[in-house]
Subunit: 385 residues, 2 copies
């Protein structure tokens, strides 16, 4: 059963639009972007009180296209179509959903492949490192532009969940709920190590040209492919890879060579190759670095409870049992800090074999809990807060 733009629970055909922001934005690393574009999709209608808006934040390789289809011929819907649509957990009959491509991205928002106004050439390696704080700052500009004083909820999985956490800490009055899925309050050494391998794969590719590959009319596709292959392993779990591939051979025999003969090998290569054709290498570097740097407790004396005490919103935190990238213990650290800070938090660890990717995969209990929480968000009278 293919996804269908005419399905009753689909947002249907959607169209991205580009918003231009003239005011410079000073980034955490010290650089200033003189101006920037954000590519945005919205689903549902903003109500008269402008109090039903939900912001969806994307993860590492994500973008603005979270739900629906770009055309009737489109075979695949947006990346979070399982959760966004009429009657879905983020119910577009009730919410006005805003989804964007973050700055530094490679799907239309200002990023390394954009033209640097100072030089007339692509930014490339001159695009400044951007952090979760920087994204949230530009998302706040977006909210201003859309006339949204306060989000009903800011929602994200993985790196998206970190953005929701940052909103709660740094713009406490501007959201009523944060939904933080499969996230972490900060990466472990192992997480950083995997990111570093990915970056090294890209930067050591001779086609990288110190980041100026576009000017050389090329792209470090081998490096990107390797980065994605490593990443992909960490997004899945040993169990899900075992269930999906096991030790299955492509033609039932050992060939005693190095061509892909286990199914899992050709799958990984395929994923890596497809990704490397469609993603910008400099963006990959930026996104992984943003993950590394995220550590909201840092400016609060490494005390996450103190960071979370800044928040005024309510929280839903979800984790997945087989996620070994940001295992449930990562989410529990967030929950413990919220409890210590006496914030209102609901937490569930969802049983799933899908590893970190589980936040993208429909799962009955996941969807049920998510929907129940979002119903509460929709029904709660704003003035009660």
């Amino acid at each position: 059963m293919a996804a269908d733009y005419q399905a009753a629970d689909s947002v249907g055909i959607v169209e991205p639009r580009t918003l231009h922001f003239q005011e410079p934005v000073r980034l955490e690393g010290g650089h200033t972007l003189p101006e920037f574009d954000l590519v945005v999709e919205t689903y549902g209608e903003l109500n008269a009180e402008a109090d039903n808006a939900v912001l969806v934040c994307h993860a590492l390789s994500g973008h603005h296209h979270a739900a629906g289809f770009h055309s009737a011929e489109d075979r695949k819907p947006g990346w979070w179509d399982a959760c966004i649509g009429p009657g879905k957990p983020i119910d577009t009959n009730r919410f006005f959903v805003v989804s964007l491509n973050n700055i530094g991205g490679c799907h239309g928002s200002t990023g390394p492949a954009s033209t640097n106004p100072d030089t007339g050439r692509p930014y490339g390696p001159d695009f400044p490192v951007v952090t979760v704080r920087d994204w949230v700052k530009t998302q706040a500009r977006l909210a201003d532009r859309l006339g949204i004083e306060q989000w009903a909820a800011v929602i994200g999985g993985s790196l998206g969940g970190m953005q929701a956490l940052d909103w709660a800490i740094h713009y406490p009055e501007r959201l009523r709920h944060a939904v933080v899925i499969a996230a972490t309050p900060r990466l472990t050494a192992q997480n950083i190590a995997f990111n570093e391998v990915s970056r090294k794969a890209i930067t050591s590719d001779p086609a990288f040209h110190d980041g100026r590959y576009l000017e050389h009319d090329t792209s470090p596709q081998r490096g990107l492919m390797l980065a994605r292959m490593v990443g992909h392993i960490t997004y899945l779990s040993d169990v899900s890879m075992g269930e999906k591939f096991g030790r299955e051979l492509r033609d039932h025999a050992y060939h005693y060579g190095f061509d892909a003969e286990f199914q899992v090998e050709s799958y990984l290569q395929y994923q890596g190759e497809r990704f490397s054709e469609n993603f910008d290498a400099n963006t990959y570097l930026l996104m992984t670095r943003s993950l590394d740097y995220f550590d909201p407790a840092r400016e609060f004396g490494n005390d996450l409870s103190r960071a979370m005490a800044e928040a005024r919103c309510r929280f839903l935190v979800l984790s997945f049992s087989s996620d070994w990238r940001f295992a449930p213990e990562h989410s529990e650290k967030i929950v413990n800090a919220l409890v210590d800070a006496r914030r209102d938090v609901s937490y569930a660890e969802i049983h799933s074999n899908w590893g970190h990717d589980a936040f993208l995969v429909p799962n009955e209990r996941y969807l049920r809990l998510f929907r129940a929480y979002m119903n509460r968000v929709a029904e709660e009278p704003r003035h009660a807060r």
Copy 2:
């Protein structure tokens, strides 16, 4: 306290020697090696009955130099010096210990960097894929040469443990004990996936030249570095990396760039670079492929118990709590199959934070159990069997 060749529990200065084997060996993949060399070190003395010999099998990047020092100036002892020496678990006062570099290796035994007698050039990519079976077959030739009809024990960690398993299944009369540490009866899809990323890193390096890099007077060092970085992460554990590095920065500040600034980044890069200078890329491909193919149950209808029923020796199986490459469940599969096959097996899961590398790291309970078992091996009268 540095290791010292004069220490009472050191085997002291040792010298490798090269044994040449004239008889061709037919490999599992169908190729025949017309002749081959094995580089060997031995520690301790073979007794008159030739019944105190122990074979130590190396893992992925290992070699024959398992204990002692090559010179008085040598700063680091062999890779398993913690376990081999007078009074150590593999007690050289009691055992004659044999350690070799397997064929396909890059430390002196015949491998891809050796001269192909058919062409007068390095084998390179023409060196045939070798399997655990092939290694055990050549090790049996080595035993013949040394006058060892039956090993007191065949011992190994990780890929070395797989060789011990294979000995038990295919040469049941030629060993009295198998010590199988941090091993697995077969790799999972995730294990194979990590190996494939490593291989792809090497083979996609332009300096690989389809494996003929020696003839181009170069080496795919970037690829090898990446392969080692990925491997290294899987040898350690999230906990040990956290304890060793955490999120420590090299100079206490974020620099908002892509140079190594977290300690874990520079450590990984250093490890990768050192390794890439000293290891042969084709050997790395061969060793990882041998891991992928190992699956002794395969020729027994995928029934590991049937495979283990071939064995006549006794077994010690050890696993480590934080090993996520070959987690304790892998060892438990071996133990369960042995129990089903009514073999004599001792098993322990050792608590350690060192991940897969724990088999190389001195740990009180590990050394105590290992020593106690080896004492039993030494004291047991051969005629009692």
